[in-house]
């Protein structure tokens, strides 16, 4: 399979300013057209930084180490046109004093749409909101959290981008609303042939969405690979621990649940070894001494010294 590569990272890292520790470092992976990549990590892991870097939306003043390339876009992606981005907070990403239809039309017009107001209504229909004409006249505060996030999704699609990045786009919502929205995102990507990057802290949500998975931990890429392989045969102990600590509806009340003891290291702390070593059940002496190399292929491997198949 040699689908066109949209974004390629080679040893990429990001620092928000010179004095700060790297928010993410040493990431190598690539994303081809039509793929859906779920980026999993907890707060402070650097998953949002990774998403912003892939979207070419890093704030001014941040520095990029290594290489980030967008072969299909011929240079950095044009915001809105090449990449659509949905932020986490559904109430914060809309202008509170402008009708949502006008906001949609504004973005559509900025990308050369000749008939932006008609298109705004179509976009609202596309994100499956009821009564699009009426919804277009609503102000953000008149909509529910889920409805606002659908509008944010429509806004991200208004420039007809080929890549969509959803950064914890569903985490602030109720589980029921979250599920419906996640399904809508996948459906829209399928029908429009969009490439998706879906950032989440929930590995089970990621499992239902992604064709590929990347797991980040404490500013490092821990593991990446096809979703099926990562879920059934994790190569990094952190991925394995995340899978075990998932609480599905089938885990009965018991004495205890699976937990990862300890907590992630302070990002400012320079560690010579693997950043997960202190919490890792499989850690050996070398893990604390030197950072593990990448094992496996670039888009299917893990940053761990354990032999493949060990954790199955």
């Amino acid at each position: 399979m040699t689908a066109e590569v949209l974004v390629r990272l080679a040893g990429a890292g990001v620092r928000y300013s010179a004095g700060l520790p790297a928010a993410i470092a040493g990431v190598s992976l690539s994303l081809a057209r039509g793929e859906r990549l779920a980026v999993i990590g907890e707060s402070g892991s650097g998953k949002t930084t990774l998403a912003l870097a892939m979207a070419g939306l890093l704030p001014a003043g941040s520095t990029v180490e290594g290489r980030i390339e967008w072969p299909a876009f011929g240079g950095a992606p044009k915001p809105g046109r090449d990449v659509g981005y949905v932020f986490q907070d559904p109430s914060g990403s809309l202008d509170p004093v402008m009708r949502v239809g006008d906001q949609l039309a504004e973005v559509a017009a900025a990308h050369g749409d000749a008939d932006p107001h008609v298109n705004a209504v179509e976009l609202i229909a596309q994100v499956e909101l009821p009564d699009p004409v009426r919804t277009a006249r609503a102000y953000p505060h008149e909509l529910s959290g889920g409805q606002r996030q659908r509008i944010a999704l429509a806004l991200a699609l208004a420039g007809r981008p080929s890549m969509l990045i959803a950064d914890e786009a569903t985490s602030a919502l109720d589980p029921v609303v979250q599920k419906k929205l996640a399904e809508l995102v996948v459906r829209l990507c399928r029908t429009n042939g969009l490439t998706l990057v879906f950032v989440t802290h929930d590995i089970a949500l990621a499992a239902g969405l992604g064709t590929r998975i990347a797991v980040v931990y404490s500013a490092r890429l821990a593991e990446t690979g096809p979703a099926e392989r990562v879920l059934s045969d994790p190569a990094h102990p952190y991925t394995k621990a995340l899978l075990e600590s998932h609480l599905g509806r089938d885990v009965p009340r018991g004495a205890r649940v699976h937990a990862i003891e300890g907590q992630p290291p302070d990002p400012a702390l320079a560690l010579p070894g693997c950043r997960f070593a202190l919490r890792c059940r499989h850690a050996v002496a070398t893990c604390n001494r030197s950072e593990p190399g990448w094992a496996g292929a670039r888009d299917d491997g893990a940053a761990c010294i354990l032999p493949a198949g060990m954790l199955r």
Binding site: H201, V251, H258
Partner: protein, 259 residues
């Protein structure tokens, strides 16, 4: 259910007014909680479950209904009597960053209830704080850290220690793990499970996450628009949910393939 109820609430009713419209937050809710058990209250946001938690603790004043805690009519209490009685029922909030006084230290937070209820002799405070921190798995060395200088999981442990200080028989846990990272969530759930096993504290566990509820609950009530729409043992509710609201909540739990 044979154990006697230590928390009995009947006909709890509360309405809010929003931009001219009247919205029922609680509409005739009944709750029974037995010693040492965990009753989970689940529902979508806006279902009234948080209002229920706050109403039981008298942080929100009800329009109608009765609440009996340990046999006493909790809603009839006022002033010093109410403050003294509050010992029996404590609360852990969703976001520990908001629930601890930002100017406080671990020690001041944990020692407050001890001082308010005169639970320790002069000079015994340090030992009492150390014992409480130990129960939530924190070293005594943490006592003089400012609460903004510790991690989210540690803050939630401090909040639990504060709640334990008055030796309550009931803990109201309002989404106690939903603001925490996955890797920390398990630790806090285990801490709560261990505490309950050792000390027979009853939990009123508010949550929207059916996965978490499955792991902790003995019984479940499902709320929707201020009413209880389903009520049963955890096993029954998870095996054969009767209300559409409950089925929807269950369907929303993402599942891992093969599990």
């Amino acid at each position: 259910m044979s154990a006697p109820s230590i928390l009995t609430a009947r006909g709890l009713t509360k309405t809010y007014r929003t931009g001219g419209r009247i919205v029922p937050a609680l509409d005739g809710v009944d709750i029974d909680l037995a010693a040492g058990e965990t009753l989970a209250v689940v529902g979508a946001s806006g279902s009234g479950k948080s209002t229920l938690a706050r109403a039981i603790l008298r942080l929100v004043e009800l329009d109608a209904g009765t609440i009996h805690v340990g046999g006493r009519d909790f809603r009839r209490l006022a002033g010093a009597e109410l403050r003294a009685e509050r010992r029996r029922i404590q609360m852990v909030f969703q976001d520990p960053a908001l629930a601890l006084n930002p100017r406080g230290t671990v020690r001041s937070v944990v020692a407050d209830p001890l001082r308010v209820h005169s639970l320790v002799e002069a000079g015994g405070q340090a030992d009492a704080v150390a014992a409480l921190l130990d129960r939530v798995g924190l070293p005594y060395a943490f006592a003089d850290r400012p609460v903004h200088g510790i991690s989210g999981g540690q803050r939630q442990r401090v909040a639990i220690a504060r709640a334990l200080a008055t030796k309550p028989s009931i803990l109201v846990l309002d989404e106690p793990v939903s603001a925490l990272d996955v890797s920390v969530r398990g630790q806090i759930l285990n801490l709560l499970l261990d505490l309950q096993r050792k000390e027979r504290i009853a939990y009123l566990f508010i949550s929207h996450d059916m996965g978490v509820v499955r792991a902790v609950a003995d019984r479940v009530v499902v709320m929707s628009r201020g009413r209880i729409v389903e009520n049963g043992s955890a096993d029954a509710v998870f095996r054969s949910p009767r209300s559409p609201e409950c089925r929807e909540l269950l369907d929303a739990v993402p599942a891992l393939p093969g599990r």
